[in-house]
Amino acid sequence: MEFLLVQSLNGISYGLLLFMLSSGLTLVFSLMGVLNFAHASFYMLGAYLAFQVSSKVGFWPALVIAPLLVGALGMLVERFGLRQVHRHGHVAELLFTFGLAYLLEEAVHLIWGRSAVEYRVPPELDGPLFQIIGSQYPIYRGFMMLVSVTMLVSIWLALTRTRIGLVIQAALTHPQTVEALGHNVPRVFMLVFGGGAALAGLAGVIGGNAFVTEPGMAAAVGPIIFVIVVVGGMGSLAGAFVASLLIGCMQTFAVSLDWSLAGIKVSQVAPVLPYLLMVLLLIFRPKGLMGTREG
């Protein structure tokens, strides 16, 4: 019973982290039609920058500074890279971000080396939060959940309750009309792209020390968030939310179960499960969990 509870909490915290990543990806995709392949690289960059900044001024300032830096980089990428490629079409934009992912990974290799860096949980967040019938639950997991939920609620409020949020929502469906009303739609694109990057950066700041900060972390999480976007339905935020939690819990449970079937342990199968889910879903429900478009 306590196993179930602790693992569900772990699964939810991982799922929320995944949603922080996939929500930015989904927003950018539905607004600009660009699938940002470098999204996971922004996540990695967030972790590395947090490591660098926190070694100078401590974890708490890094929690704010690192995502802002990543967001600024994202805006630069949109302004001087993507906007130039836009005239060549969506495939060129996708390939541009794909090349960018290569570049960012190599840049990390060059600057921080090829092995993992010592980016640790700050001492004030290290330790158990509470005990459930003998097993301890770490504070940091709780902190991760708190940050994710705060972030997601504030984004939801910003999108639905503020002026700029309404402009963004309108630009999703009717960019020409929004432009005709006098709003600078390219600047909205830049802001959203930067915002998505900053969100990924924040996920990196809190995920980097919960897991490991190493050059392979982008390649490890990248395919998973793409699977989430497909499973949830392309461009559907609600779908991405459900899919993130589903895959987060699925991964966490599969890794910790030691049942075995035909000599193969469930924990060994864990890496394949998200992809298997995607394949099955495509066979039986090609538009994804909450997708509307078929094509």
């Binding site: 130039q84 390939l95 090349g99 960018l100 290569y102 190599e106 060059l110 992809y275 394949v279 495509l282």
Partner: protein, 418 residues
């Protein structure tokens, strides 16, 4: 009977290609050149098969290595069975085995991946690629885990006096299969299926209205491409005598995408150029610097931004100007742009290499170029390289504007004459 003029240009081009294949190891002597040529042949086949998807059908795949890799795995097992004497297949026909394996997995996975087109197809192909990669690590019995499965290509009696021990024999085996594959894939572009694939790429809705099932066209195209990918996988298995998880990895899939795009997606021969350039980067440049992947990525991004038609488009652009005899006017602007580009490149390389010297533990911080040495711990080289980069970029901007003006003027005149 239809009137069919003999396409002389085409015959000359293909004969010349065959001649290049034949003569290449004679012109470029040495073991290193031979290794590179053999790898180029393998990658040319792989990149052409990839372009059947990206260039001809508009399917951006991030998991094409699945088909070549699984083809290679099946080939390695067949080779090992031959080594035990329980099976006999002539070594020169092994690529066919790999091809059939590729075809089989193409049918299996293609059924799922081709359900959707566009961006979704790209994501699904990525997911399937990751799934296969994870499975390869999960079943070490068949796939040999991280270390992979090694084999020996010299098995059984020599086939027509060829044992395939010496590297030169392997090169010619690759060359023959590569040429056959090139011819077959070119022939495929001329068939109704090849034409329909182009239609599905350009306007799927209209293709549906004409009465074709776009999903079916995509599926057939993917299955055929998987066959050729499998052939190239088998060739790489014969060449390296080892197949590991890396063969099906996202790194391979990304590599073939880079090679194909750099060469030129809109043209049939583009991937051939791309494969040659890519192997140069991977094999030759990686010997000099550990930052080669950064340079390759930068080259790719620059191509995406400035020349989305790849190297092939840059070459083809020159032909009308040359035919009009106006190329001499372009020579000076081109030379200036190249010079400015070289200065910028030198500055960039200097900076990158110095960053690398500082980050790598135990590496010497002194960079030696052409007898000059720069210490990465002192400030002057940083200023020098940064200045070279900035000046080079500024000059390149000006030179590029000049190229554009001259080019535009010539184009206008040519159009006015026509």
């Amino acid at each position: 009977m239809k009137y069919r003029p003999l396409n002389l240009g085409r015959w000359i081009l293909w004969s010349a290609t065959a001649l290049v294949f034949l003569a290449a190891p004679q012109v470029l002597q040495g073991g290193f050149a031979l290794t590179m040529l053999t790898q180029m042949g393998t990658l040319i086949l792989f990149a052409l098969s990839y372009n059947m998807l990206l260039g001809q059908s508009g399917m951006l795949s991030f998991g094409h290595a699945v088909y070549s890799g699984l083809g290679a795995y099946v080939t390695v097992h067949v080779l090992n069975l031959m080594g035990k004497g329980s099976l006999y297949v002539p070594v020169p026909l092994l690529p066919l085995v790999g091809g059939m394996a590729g075809l089989f997995f193409g049918i299996l996975f293609g059924y799922v991946t081709t359900k959707r087109a566009g961006t979704t197809f790209a994501l699904i192909s990525l997911g399937v690629g990751e799934m296969v990669f994870a499975c390869v690590l999960m079943f070490p019995g068949f796939f040999g885990g991280e270390a992979g499965i090694s084999t020996n290509r010299v098995v059984g009696k020599p086939f027509l006096g060829l044992s395939f021990g010496p590297a030169i024999q392997v090169y010619y085996l690759v060359a023959v299969w590569c040429f056959l594959g090139m011819a077959a894939m070119f022939a495929l572009t001329q068939t109704p299926l090849g034409r329909m694939a182009n239609a599905v790429r350009d306007n799927p809705e209209r293709a549906e209205f004409v009465g074709y099932n776009t999903q079916h066209v995509r599926f057939l195209q993917l299955v055929l491409a998987s066959f050729f990918a499998g052939v190239s996988g088998a060739l790489s298995c014969i060449n390296f005598e080892i197949v590991s998880a890396e063969n099906v990895s996202a790194i391979r899939s990304g590599g073939v995408l880079l090679a194909t795009f750099i060469g030129g997606v809109p043209f049939f021969f583009g991937p051939i150029l791309g494969a040659i350039v890519f192997i140069f980067f991977v094999v030759a440049l990686s010997g000099f610097t550990k930052a080669w992947l950064l340079y390759l990525g930068l080259f790719f991004v620059l191509m995406v931004v400035y020349a989305p038609g790849g190297i092939a488009s840059l070459i083809l652009m020159q032909f009308p100007v040359i035919r009009a005899g106006r190329w001499r006017e372009m020579a000076l602007p081109y030379a200036l742009a190249a010079l400015a580009g070289l200065v910028a490149l030198a500055g960039l390389i200097g900076l990158v290499e110095m960053v690398y010297r500082l980050s790598e533990q135990g590496a010497s911080t002194v960079l030696t170029v052409l007898g000059l040495s720069f210490d990465a711990r002192s400030a002057p080289p940083w200023f020098m390289f940064a200045a070279a980069l900035a000046a080079g970029l500024a000059a390149l901007r000006a030179a590029a504007r000049r190229v554009g003006e001259r080019w535009g003027a010539i184009q206008l005149e040519l159009q006015a004459r026509a």
